[in-house]
């Protein structure tokens, strides 16, 4: 597993800060392209706010559509990051080094975008302020803390704050490196952000402990966030398909599955875009692939439990819903695509070492998982609502409007854009972490072969 390349500090600084110090033209063009899609999404949101929710495909009883599907999806992606980073840090996994910051940053941006979705979905975004925050003292109206729609902002706010601070704390040493390599106004700005970092043993000791301590604190928060998102659905007693006690762990494992897949996609793109072949190697993607097999199979177990227990109840409404999800057009087609792209295709492929070490195939399979996982959320939300319930007086199916499709597409572009902006200002791979890995690595002679060993920190 260890196929380390020997690199000097100067070389690491040069390679990992190349884009920060001078980005190529294509980088700006790509950012411009993504910014234009983000702008289109913003226009769509503005149009929707102006005209009202009537221009979306939402109707009675399908009150939650593409935007809420996308909300759950991005919350899921956000779980990659800190979970991956935290678990790998706590277990001192050597191959974590190139992937930690990228996954933490992905967490922050996907969480920000996720949090925007219900606000946009409300149709009157400004009103969410006094739905979620206890500020409207003059009228004596306060949020009802018994609603999961209040638990959500509390959990997301905690997770977003924690994840952002996690990124900032780990960035400080690298800001010191950039400070030493810039001049003029940029030097002053980076000096301010580096806060006088010098790299004393005390600072490094605290930095190392900070990584472990914040990881340990963020892990329970990450579990709570997606559990609470699942309770948005699970506490609804009137909607079959949602009211399941297994929803919290099922959502959490699904989130981890889609999130870690997104990290695989991201590190492969980073390697290609920034020419980081020496830092993101086949062994890293291979290790992530092995991890994904385990996570994916755990997810399949929960999916099977959720689905089979629903059938086991033999309740007419529940069985009618499952029949609709699996046999009724167009949900049957979506269900098939979901099962194939979400599990069967990628996990079968990852069983082969050659696939796990082939970056093109890993990119395709990791993207495939997220196609499947997006559809999974869609199939949980829409068919469950698009059915005639005993007390329904009006019911129909759901067809997303062009406005919703634009907003969903622009969410993907915005996350990508934010990542590119971040990578222009800060290094996406922690320099000090890579340098530490180089110092701790050592070669040992076994027989006639010299192989990299690792001195583990005490």
């Amino acid at each position: 597993m260890q196929e380390r390349v020997t690199l000097t500090s100067t070389q690491i600084n040069t390679d990992l800060l190349r884009n920060v110090l001078k980005a190529p033209l294509w980088y700006w063009l790509l950012m411009g392209f993504l910014a234009s899609i983000t702008l289109a999404g913003s226009i769509a949101v503005g149009f929707m706010v102006n005209k009202g929710l009537g221009i979306t495909g939402l109707n009675r009883p399908v009150m939650w559509g593409f935007l809420i599907t996308d909300f759950v999806f991005w919350i899921g992606i956000s779980h990659a990051g800190v979970m991956l980073s935290a678990i790998l840090r706590l277990s001192k996994a050597e191959w974590r080094r190139p992937a930690t910051r990228a996954s933490e940053v992905l967490t922050v941006f996907s969480l920000m975008i996720a949090a925007l979705h219900p606000v946009i979905h409300s149709g009157r975004p400004w009103r969410t302020l006094y739905w979620a925050f206890p500020y409207d003292f003059s009228r004596g109206i306060f949020p009802d803390i018994r609603s999961p729609l209040i638990w959500d902002p509390a959990a997301i706010f905690t997770y977003l704050t924690g994840s952002t601070l996690f990124v900032i704390v780990a960035l400080v040493p690298d800001l010191g490196v950039i400070r030493d390599r810039t001049t003029g106004i940029r030097h002053h700005i980076y000096s301010l952000m580096a806060m006088g970092w010098r790299g004393t043993p005390r600072q490094w000791k605290l930095q190392t402990i900070a990584g472990f301590l914040l990881s340990a604190l963020l892990l329970p928060v990450f579990v709570s966030v997606h559990s609470i998102v699942s309770w948005d659905f699970a506490v609804q007693i009137g909607v079959e398909g949602w009211h399941a006690t297994i929803f919290a762990p099922y959502f959490v494992i699904g989130a981890v599955f889609s999130g870690v897949s997104a990290v695989v996609t991201m590190v492969i793109l980073m390697r290609w875009m920034f020419k980081w072949e020496a830092y993101i190697r086949a062994e890293h993607v291979d290790a992530l692939g092995r991890l994904l097999i385990a996570i994916g199979t755990a997810w399949l177990f929960f999916f099977f439990l959720e689905f089979s227990m629903a059938l086991y109840s033999l309740e007419d409404q529940e069985i009618a819903l499952r029949e609709m999800q699996v046999f009724t057009w167009p949900y049957n087609m979506l269900f098939l695509v979901f099962v194939v792209t979400g599990y069967l295709f990628p996990v079968t492929m990852w069983l082969f070492r050659g696939v796990r070490r082939n970056l093109v195939l890993m990119l395709i399979t990791s993207l495939s998982v997220n196609v499947g996982m997006w559809l999974e959320r869609f199939l949980i939300i829409i068919p469950s609502l698009a059915r005639k319930s005993p007390l329904s007086f009006d019911w129909r199916s759901y067809h997303p409007s062009i406005v919703e499709i634009t907003i969903v597409l622009s969410a993907f572009a915005t996350v990508f854009l934010l990542l590119l902006v971040f990578a222009k200002v800060f290094p996406l791979i922690p320099l000090f972490d890579v340098k530490e890995g180089q110092t701790l690595a050592d070669n040992v002679q076994i027989g006639r072969k010299s192989v990299p060993a690792l001195r583990v920190e005490e």
Binding site: D180, R202, Q203
Partner: protein, 167 residues
């Protein structure tokens, strides 16, 4: 007092230099190491770092829990809504908000603790050289003006690539 900074290319040479400084009468309380990445504790014979970071999350958690409890109790009491004859204060949802509040408090105070214990921000921290982030290891200490030459000699004899001084 004059600040001196010796720059070394290799960790072993820097470790020997700290020994040479100790033989010259300086304790490890008087010199400081500067590096571009963490080294194992005691790699240079430096002083043991003592800190109280672990206290911070507990204080933060306690404060966060208290604020969350106050907020959830106060909002329900301020707008009492009786649902199905149940008590006005709904404990299960209060636990959820209190949990998030506790964790938020713990995280915020941990980060404050990290900065406080790392002694940052500190923009007047003393002598420094950008070569440290290129992999050089810096040994810095304060000494009296009349001892500058002697200390410089110790550092150079120990293998310093360069020695800088600052009044």
């Amino acid at each position: 007092m004059v600040q001196i900074l010796g720059l070394f290319k290799q960790a072993e040479v820097a470790a020997n230099a700290t020994e040479a400084l100790q033989q010259a009468g300086y304790t490890n309380q008087q010199f400081e190491l500067l590096t571009d990445h963490p080294y194992p504790d005691g790699a240079f014979g430096e002083r043991v770092t003592k800190h109280r970071l672990y206290v911070f999350p507990f204080i933060g958690a306690l404060l966060g829990f208290s604020v969350a409890l106050l907020l959830t109790t106060a909002t329900q009491a301020a707008y009492p809504m009786v649902t199905g004859g149940k008590p006005i204060l709904g404990l299960p949802p209060m636990i959820i908000i209190a949990y998030e509040g506790t964790m938020l408090g713990a995280i915020l105070f941990t980060v404050l603790g990290i900065f406080f214990e790392s002694r940052i921000p500190n923009f007047k921290a003393g002598i420094y050289d950008p070569r440290i982030t290129e992999g050089y290891i810096g040994i810095t200490l304060d000494c009296a003006t009349e001892r500058v030459n002697a200390v410089e000699q110790v550092l150079r004899r120990a293998g310093a690539e360069d020695v800088l001084t600052k009044e």
